[in-house]
C-alpha cells in the first residue's frame, strides 16, 4: 500500500512472489519469499526493490551472503541497463550516478523429512522485519527486536556494487525452526515498528492483522481501511507499507 498522498505506481516497496502469478509453495514443499523497501531520496529505488525481490524469488537458493552478492550483481546490471536506456534530466543524472538503495528481507521455509514442522532461514539488510508467532504469542522478531530499533538511517543495499563493500558485514542471518500453526509476518519498517510497539504494550497485533485479512483487503474493516485509520491516528508512520502473512499448516496440508 503506498504512503498516503502517493499513487500505487509511486509505491517503492516490493514483494515476491506476487501470488497471482507465481506459486508460493514449491514442489519440494519449500517456500521462498522476499520484501524490499526502496529508499525515497534515491533514484528509481522502486525499480531496484522489484528487481531484488524478483531475483531472490527466482534464485531457488537458500539465503546466504554469497548468493546475495550474486543476486545483487544480476539485479544491479539489470538496473544499470534500464538507466542506460533512459534520457534523463540533469536532476536525475546525479541521483542515478549515486545509485538506488533498498532494504531486503529474504525468507526460505523448508520441511524437515517426516517431522511435522521444519526449518527456516532468513537474511536481512536494513529494517524490514520478520515476526514469528506461535499460538498467538510472539516467539521471535528478526532482526529488530525493539521498537526503538527502527530509525531513519538503516543500512541499505545499493544498485552500485562499489557501495556495498561495507554492507556485507551488516547482513543479518538467522536459522530456526517452525511448527504447524506458526504464523510469519514479513513487513516493511512502518508496520514493523507498529507491530513491535503493540507487542511491547502487551497487545496482539497479529490477531488484529489476521482479522483485517479475514474482513478482506479493500472491504470495510479490511487491511487497507485499517492501515489508513492507523495512519490517521498517527500510530503508523505514513510510509509505503508491505506485509506478507504466512500461516503454516504443516507438510501434509495443501498450503
Amino acid at each position: 500500500m503506498p504512503k498516503r498522498g502517493n499513487s500505487v505506481d509511486e509505491n517503492e516497496d516490493a514483494f515476491a512472489p506476487r501470488w497471482k502469478n507465481r506459486p508460493f509453495v514449491r514442489r519440494d514443499k519449500s517456500l521462498c519469499c522476499a520484501i524490499s523497501d526502496g529508499a525515497t531520496q534515491a533514484a528509481f529505488s522502486g525499480l531496484w526493490a522489484r528487481l531484488l525481490v524478483n531475483h531472490v524469488y527466482h534464485s531457488r537458493f537458500h539465503p546466504s551472503i554469497g548468493r546475495l552478492a550474486g543476486i545483487t550483481d544480476l539485479a544491479s546490471q539489470e538496473w544499470l541497463n534500464n538507466m542506460a536506456g533512459r534520457d534523463l534530466p540533469w536532476f536525475a543524472e546525479e541521483k542515478v550516478r549515486n545509485g538506488a538503495f533498498a532494504t531486503l528481507l529474504w525468507l526460505r521455509v523448508t520441511v524437515n523429512g517426516n517431522e511435522p514442522g521444519g526449518n527456516w532461514k532468513a537474511l536481512v539488510i536494513g529494517d524490514s522485519n520478520l515476526f514469528q508467532v506461535r499460538k498467538e504469542t510472539l516467539v521471535g522478531a528478526f532482526p529488530i527486536q525493539e521498537s526503538t530499533g527502527f530509525h531513519n538511517n538503516p543500512i541499505l543495499l545499493s544498485s552500485k556494487r562499489i557501495k556495498n563493500h561495507q554492507v556485507w558485514e551488516q547482513v543479518r542471518i538467522k536459522v530456526s525452526t517452525w511448527m504447524p500453526g506458526d504464523d510469519f509476518f514479513l513487513t516493511t519498517d512502518a508496520l514493523a515498528a507498529w507491530c513491535m510497539k503493540s507487542w511491547e504494550k502487551g497487545e496482539k497485533p497479529n490477531i488484529q492483522i489476521q482479522q483485517w485479512f479475514t474482513n478482506g483487503i479493500k472491504e470495510d474493516g479490511g487491511v487497507i481501511e485499517n492501515i489508513r485509520l492507523l495512519r490517521d491516528r498517527g500510530e503508523l508512520k505514513n510510509d509505503d507499507t508491505t506485509l506478507i502473512w504466512i500461516h503454516l499448516l504443516g507438510k501434509d496440508s495443501q498450503s
Binding site: G5, E10, T40, Q41, A43, F44, G46, R86, L88, P89, W90, F91, A92, E93, E94, K95, R97, N98, G99, N152, S158, K160, I162, K163, H165, N238, D239
Partner: protein, 281 residues
C-alpha cells in the same frame, strides 16, 4: 511538537531567499583583494542551493511540488529577481523553477566514488541568479515584503511545515532598525510552527571573528551583529540534526540562526543546513 509536519505535495513548504544587492556586495569577500566578490559568492551558492532543492524534490524522472521558492533582491528597490518567464514572480513552484533557469553551465563536480575516493564528473549547473551590486541596503523593506508574501502563504497552507526565510547580507540596513520587521515576519505561523528567519552575513573583513550559529551574543563583535542575532530565529531541531549528519557540526540546542562574518565555506554549510528538507521520506 513543532516543525514535525511531513513535507508533501498536499502540504508543501516554502523557502524564501532575501538577497542583499547593495553596492558594498561588489567588494571582495573577506575584504581580501583578488577574492571573488561577495555578490558572486552569494549568487553562486544560491544557484547551488536552488539546484539542490530541485534535486531533493525530484523523484525518478519527475519533480514533485514539495516546495515553493522565492528570491527577493534588495538595494534601493525590493523586487523578485528570478528572470525569464519567472520574472516578477514572488514565489514559484519547484518544478517551474527547474523549467526556467537563465542558462545552464557545465561544471566539473567532485563526487564520492563510493569507495572512499573522489572523482570529478562533468555536471550541468543551472543558473537562476546573476550577481548584482548597486545602491543602498533596504533590508527593512525586504523583510516587510517577505512578511506580506508569507502572510498569504501560511493562510493557504495552514498545516504545512512553516516557511524558511534566509537573508543573505553583508551589512546593516540603511532604511531603519530591521528588528520590528523581522519580528512581524517571525510571528507568522502555520499549525506546525513559526516562520524561521536565518541571517547569513557575508564577510567583509578577514580579521573579524566568524560566528557560526551561536547560542549567546557573547563573542559577537559589534552592534550590527547583535541586531542580526536578535532578528534571527532559533535553529530548529531538524537544522541542528542536519548540521551534525551532513557536516559533522555539533550545535547546541538554543543555537541562533545567524552566521556572522561568514567565509565562502560557511555560507555553503549554512544554506545547506537551512534548506535540507528533513521531513520527507
Amino acid at each position: 511538537m513543532t516543525y514535525q509536519a511531513e513535507i508533501s505535495r498536499t502540504n508543501p513548504t516554502c523557502f524564501l531567499f532575501l538577497v542583499d544587492q547593495s553596492s558594498s556586495m561588489h567588494d571582495p569577500i573577506m575584504g581580501v583583494p583578488g577574492n571573488l566578490r561577495k555578490t558572486e559568492v552569494v549568487a553562486d551558492n544560491l544557484n547551488r542551493i536552488l539546484q539542490v532543492l530541485v534535486v531533493t524534490a525530484s523523484k525518478d524522472a519527475g519533480i514533485r511540488r514539495y516546495y515553493q521558492v522565492g528570491v527577493i533582491g534588495y538595494n534601493n528597490d525590493v523586487n523578485p529577481i528570478l528572470q525569464g518567464s519567472l520574472v516578477d514572480k514572488e514565489l514559484v513552484w519547484i518544478d517551474d523553477l527547474y523549467q526556467n533557469p537563465i542558462r545552464i553551465e557545465e561544471r566539473m563536480k567532485k563526487e564520492s566514488d563510493g569507495a572512499g575516493g573522489v572523482i570529478e564528473v562533468k555536471t550541468k549547473f543551472p543558473i537562476w541568479i546573476d550577481p548584482v551590486a548597486s545602491g543602498q541596503t533596504h533590508m527593512c523593506e525586504a523583510l516587510t515584503r517577505a512578511k506580506n508574501i508569507l502572510e498569504l502563504w501560511v493562510k493557504e497552507y495552514p498545516f504545512s511545515y512553516p516557511p524558511t526565510v534566509i537573508n543573505l547580507t553583508d551589512g546593516e540596513a540603511n532604511d531603519g532598525d530591521p528588528r520590528p520587521a523581522a519580528e512581524a515576519l517571525k510571528a507568522l505561523a502555520t499549525q506546525d510552527g513559526n516562520v524561521t528567519l536565518l541571517t547569513l552575513h557575508v564577510s567583509s573583513n578577514q580579521m573579524m571573528k566568524q560566528t557560526f550559529f551561536p547560542n549567546t551574543t557573547e563573542g559577537l563583535p559589534d552592534d550590527p551583529s547583535r541586531i542580526m542575532y536578535e532578528m534571527s530565529s532559533l535553529l530548529t531541531e531538524n537544522m541542528i540534526r542536519t548540521a551534525q549528519e551532513m557536516h559533522n557540526l555539533t550545535l547546541p540546542v538554543g543555537s541562533n540562526g545567524i552566521v556572522y562574518n561568514a567565509p565562502i565555506e560557511s555560507i555553503m554549510y549554512a544554506l545547506d543546513i537551512g534548506t535540507r528538507p528533513a521531513n520527507m521520506r
